[in-house]
Amino acid sequence: MSDPILQIDNVVKHFPITKGIVFQRQVAAVQAVDDVSFTVERGETLGIVGESGCGKSTLARCIMRLVEPTSGRIIFDGQDITALSRSQMRSVRREMMMVFQDPYASLNGRKRVGFIVSEPLEVHGIGTPAEQKRRVQELLEVVGLNPEHYNRFPHEFSGGQRQRIGIARALAVNPKLIVCDEPVSALDVSVQAQILNLLKDLQSEFGLTYIFIAHDLNVVRHISDRVGVMYLGKLVDLAGSAELYKHPRHPYTGALLSAIPIANPRVGRERTSTVLEGDVPNPINPPSGCRFHPRCPRAQSDICDAVEPALQERGGGHTTACFFPLERWPLTHEEMATVDRAAAEGVRREVAQAIEAALAPAL
């Protein structure tokens, strides 16, 4: 069933930090997204989770080419869009739209809803004004708003209704792919459920593909077919959502899962949660080797801090970037921290050989 609508190859985005006013020189870079690759199948929902600052929004903006990736390729519907000019991009943007996090900031408060929703039609020169108006009213109905609210301003709507307006705008030009950047995190739980249901209904009605970015693991689990976990600019774990939540393989995924509060007082209080120590490191100067190693209970010296683990297939469509993936789940804190000695030696030897091989031509 491989029919990718979007393919991301080794996308890197570094934001330079410069010094000097006349003679600017780059002194460092925020490594927001670093060497991320994945594909998105037509009609599926790919969820991306991670904590704030892990690069998930920057990745979304790279996919839309709202920020220019530093390197890497983005192939949308068989076409490499990384090198397209602005005018060439315009026709591609008809096929991919975005829904933003903040329904208060992402709608122009001085424009009427009709204008906001019809703007994509205008930009792409679709239809006469009368047709556009009909289309907008149809869209408002599709997202569960009253078509008569055409002439209202955004401030007359609640947060959930505004997010519906944002979704109507994204749907206006019949896109194939919608990138949702935290679409429900500003909403209350009952309204959040309404929007999640709406997104699911629209997907089955219009055959949409979603990239769904959120920090709430339960929300992502609910809506996604596959889920990728990002940490500090890297994609560390990627699997089908049932697989990822039942058998997390990366220690970070495990720690994230055990940090979600469970809305069941008996289950929640009995489990032993793995509390991660400390904060996410600075992306200007990320740790060497595996970026998670300073906080990882399984980190082994000379391996995890020396070499970066590659994303590897672990069976069941599960790819994980870790030398010592979790064997099963849930694990106690002690089990999390123990690594099979023999396996560690094996990996250590491999790592040493790999380093030697890499150095050999230089010698």
Partner: protein
Amino acid sequence: MSTTVEPSTSTGSSTEDAPLLDVRDLRTYFKTEDGIVRAVDGVSFSVKAGQTLGVVGESGCGKSVTMLSVLSLNTKAGRLALGPEANAGAEMEHYLLASKKHTSLSTGSAHFRGEDLLTASSDRLRAIRGGEIAMIFQDPMTSLNPVHTIGAQLIEAAMLHQDITKGAARQIAIESLDDVGIPRAKQRIDDFPHQFSGGMRQRVMIAMALINEPELLIADEPTTALDVTTQSQILGLIRRLQEERGTAVVMITHDLGVVAEVADEVVVMYAARVVERASVFEVFEQPRHPYTWGLLGSLPRPDAVADRLTQIQGQPPSLLNPPPGCRFAPRCTFSFGRCLEDVPELEGSGAGSHLDACFLTDAQKVEEAQRFVTAAATDESA
């Protein structure tokens, strides 16, 4: 439209003495250009010493204003003593509309160790706030003063309430930073708030709140601005400190998961009123109010059986002009004629301490809750 509320009695086997904080029929109204906003409208609850009360509800349901009113932290607030039989709502509106001085008004009572905070003098209130009752706020970025070192702010808090020298206060400040898990507290005490991360700032806030060893800690969405891993650190910290010191905690949150993990008792608020009040197990296992069912149903769960979430239709009502009768009735799938006219009282169904404000029969409530609980049980089995 007056709601008489069952006096809160600590029932059960334990012959507990009076609760630490006992709030009865609290009302807070605000005067705005558009009319009177009934932000808190007849709220009663109590907190026992050493326990955690979770107050849960969506934005705008009045959960924060309730706690601000208890501490008289509303600005330009008047306080009005009313007779027990008075039609409190109408009288308050009348007073507010006539008053030139006040833009908000609180009535009811909030007894803290037998002393009514709503009639206490401002000197007495100043001694209580930050001393016997401490509060932490949602946003650790804005609740610390950016132009003073955290040390200066902690020392100020200690010296306001304890008769000690600056040196001793500094020592206490360092100890309390140590307690909340800030590494190298001795050096970091002279840092400014911007030098700390979000999670660390919330730790500083907790250190400041606990520096005078309060008996009651009010935490208003303490982890909402934080990432999940940091959230679990902070919740663990609050729980540990509570166990060590026996502090009672009121945890205001919109996150049912947080409530399930930390609370002993739960108050569910909707549109300025309490709709359900019970122990945490009762609320999650035998919820009795349709709004609570809706809240629990709209939560995406780790192992959802249902493909669709049960959503609550519509929006919460405006508190300028709330619907008559049960405020949830317009959105409730179970509502019938009476719900739109009469106000349901918060009452128990027999001996238990499980209270709810709903006209459905006990049998209906039990049946619905049962349906819900079996669904949830299959959810969590994985």
